[in-house]
């Protein structure tokens, strides 16, 4: 099943589509308001974009520097070439200590690596503690958004889920009450956890520190209590110095949810303080993960996507994402940035994604680190066409269209004839011919004259006109 089929599934429920679309647009509007309060917004975007590109140009140096500083601070640094290595490292750390109860805060990287099913299959209980992630975990489905994992669900669906999982009274759908139930349930898990896993928003080369941002405080609670903290970080997350954090943190929450800053912006450097005698000594392990990132870096047309700070703004603004839902992409990361990143992993499987785009350019306009998203999507289309990843029908059609567009005269004659025929056909026929564009709407009336003809007529009028 491709993007189109899954999107078709999603839009079947018209009121849900509308609601999904509006919820996300609401977040996009809040982003605009927040950006408007920052006088130097555009300069900040330039700064953040160039800090990231500078970092991408010297990743080996920065990571070596990070490794030294983090080790000095008492952390243990691991390197994982791919998802399997990453998962195995985490498993070994837990098994060495006989730990079975793990709490995790939001991390798209561990999602990408399939850490949860991997650990669960080996008898380890791993609980997602971000409320949205917990909801989708209990539903056995992936997040549909990188910042708001359960944005595709209605409160009544969460109520039903909690009825089954947390003993919620039948029909409960009040977000306050539902959150209170989850809080109570998760509090127990935090208290019982032996290890906490977090992602990383920014790693700072100079100091070996890293920053984790949450609104719920779950990353903090999940690492303050257990003795073992495992932080999983993708190769693209490094920045040179502490002062570089400022532009990113000024941009991130505003771009993501329209907040001035998230509730908790935590800076970790080494394991937490040893508090007592007798319980296991606190330990921090940092797993640096490649999993395709060095390959992406080697592709000049797409490497800028590694600058992404996962704010989700490009998803919220995307007319296709808003109307087709995150799950329609069939990838860990949906939306414009997902459509850029995922084909580099598996061009065959994700060849459709760069076409799930109107090239409106809105994603590029909102991106805080200026990833040229819609340009990259267009470039992907060309790459994938050259790689033979397009369906035959599209290859033939585009081949013909290409030839036609190269000959303006032929184009004019043919479209004129086409228009004449089309104007005589009943609308239903026309719609049938132009499907799938007309699956959920009809074509506008075909004009008698083309745009060029109209312009020519106007020009004639003007020269003939009075005076």
């Amino acid at each position: 099943m491709g993007h189109v089929d899954r999107a078709r599934e999603f839009v079947r429920d018209e009121s849900r589509t509308k609601w999904h679309d509006e919820s996300l647009w609401f977040v996009r509007a809040k982003r605009d308001d927040a950006a408007d309060t920052v006088p130097d917004w555009e300069a900040l975007r330039d700064e953040a974009a160039t800090i990231k590109r500078d970092a991408l140009s010297r990743l080996p140096d920065l990571w070596r520097q990070f490794e030294t500083a983090a080790t000095e601070a008492g952390a243990v640094v691991h390197w994982a070439r791919d998802a399997e290595e990453h998962n195995q490292i985490v498993l070994d750390l837990l098994e060495e200590r006989g730990f079975r109860r793990v709490v995790k805060s939001k991390s798209m990287l561990t999602e990408e690596c399939g850490l949860n099913p991997f650990l669960e299959a080996r008898g380890i209980e791993i609980i997602d503690t971000d409320l949205g992630e917990r909801i989708v975990q209990l539903r056995n489905e992936p997040p549909s958004h990188i910042v708001m994992p359960a944005i595709h669900l209605k409160r009544s669906e969460v109520g039903k889920l909690f009825e089954k999982e947390m003993g919620a009274p039948v029909g409960l759908d009040d977000p306050d009450a539902l959150t209170a139930l989850a809080r109570k349930d998760l509090r127990k898990r935090f208290i019982a956890a032996e290890a906490g896993i977090t992602g990383v928003n920014f790693a700072v080369a100079e100091t070996g520190s890293f920053v984790v941002v949450t609104n719920e405080g779950n990353a903090d609670l999940g690492t303050a209590l257990p003795s073992l903290h495992i932080a999983c970080v993708g190769l693209e997350k490094i920045i040179p110095a502490p002062s570089d954090l400022a532009p990113f943190l000024r941009l991130l929450a505003r771009s993501a949810t329209g907040q001035p800053i998230s509730a908790y912006t935590s800076h970790f450097r080494g394991p937490r303080e040893a508090e007592d005698i007798g319980s296991p000594a606190p330990a921090m392990h940092i797993v640096i993960v490649d999993n395709g990132r060095s390959d992406l870096l080697a592709q000049p047309s797409f490497r800028d996507a590694l600058a992404c700070i996962r704010c989700g703004a490009c998803l919220n603004t995307c007319p296709v994402y808003r109307r087709s839902g995150g799950h329609s992409y069939g990838t860990t990361i949906p939306g414009p940035i997902g459509s850029v990143l995922e084909p580099s992993r598996d061009p065959k499987a994700h060849a459709e994604l760069p076409h799930a785009c109107t090239l409106c350019g809105s994603c590029t306009n909102v991106c805080p680190v200026r990833v040229p998203l819609h340009h990259q999507l267009l470039t992907w289309r060309a790459h994938l066409a050259e790689g033979g990843h397009h369906p035959t029908r599209r290859r033939v059609a585009f081949g013909l269209a290409g030839r036609l567009f190269a000959h303006p005269r032929a184009y004019e004659i043919l479209t004129k004839a086409g228009r004449r025929v089309a104007r005589r056909l009943p609308t239903a026929w026309l719609d049938r011919l132009t499907s799938p564009w007309t699956e959920a709407r009809t074509l506008p009336p075909i004009p008698a004259r083309s745009f060029r003809e109209q312009m020519r007529a106007r020009a004639r009028q003007a020269t003939k006109g009075p005076r």
Partner: protein, 215 residues
């Protein structure tokens, strides 16, 4: 070749061209009315600003109930005295860090878990940031960090004179290389994961008051 060396080698295979970061010539300055900007931004994050004279903060904040009725309060050691001073007898024996240690428990993992149910935690932060309503706080211990998260209500005191304009100014004041753990806090713990409706108190405090202490 180890995974590490292989990854580092892969990163040099086709390096990205060098880029000079575009540093702006200046940063936004302190707004004319910094505390009202901070108040507005903090309110957006669900927090509340209170002004108080340093010696009387206890009277300035909103307590969830009569002060004397509170049984579980964590007050950080660096919180300045206030009149009326909280009589030690009015605080729960499990409340204060110093009490905990004197009971010979140490700040054990068990003690941290015993912090539940904690009604109020009072912290003392280094400085506040006008543009986003955040304060920079370095917990004295993992216990203090936990206390800040497990409490139903969080009160953070900050010297009014410490206000900075933006995060750029903030990082000039932070010695990250010497900070094991430090955080910007702004507002209570919150989530909007169910239908985008804002709920305060996702895992941690349901309310957060920031007290600007005038000396």
């Amino acid at each position: 070749m180890s995974a590490r060396d292989q990854i580092l080698a892969a990163l040099t295979r086709h390096p990205a061209p060098p880029v000079e970061p575009a540093r702006p010539e200046s940063r936004p300055e302190m707004p004319a009315n910094p505390w009202s900007v901070l108040e507005e931004r903090l309110a957006q994050n669900g927090g509340r600003l209170v002004h108080s004279h340093s010696g009387a903060w206890i009277d300035s904040v909103k307590w969830p109930c009569e002060f004397a009725e509170l049984t579980h309060v964590y007050v950080a050691k660096n919180v300045p005295e206030s009149s009326p001073t909280p009589p030690a007898s009015q605080l729960s024996p499990t409340a204060h860090l110093s009490t905990l240690t004197s009971r010979g428990v140490g700040a054990t993992a068990k003690a941290m878990r015993d912090l539940e149910p904690l009604e109020v935690t009072v912290l003392y932060a280094d400085f506040a940031v006008a543009e986003n309503g955040a304060v920079w706080h370095v917990p004295a211990s993992a216990l203090e960090r936990t206390a800040a998260l497990l409490a139903e209500h969080l009160i953070v005191l900050v010297p009014a004179s410490s206000l900075v304009a933006t995060l750029h100014h903030a990082y000039e004041r932070i010695a990250l290389a010497e900070t094991r753990f430090g955080w910007f806090l702004s507002g209570p713990s919150k989530t909007a994961d169910i239908e985008q409706s804002l709920v305060l108190g996702a895992h941690g405090p349901r309310t957060m008051q920031l007290v600007a202490l005038e000396s």
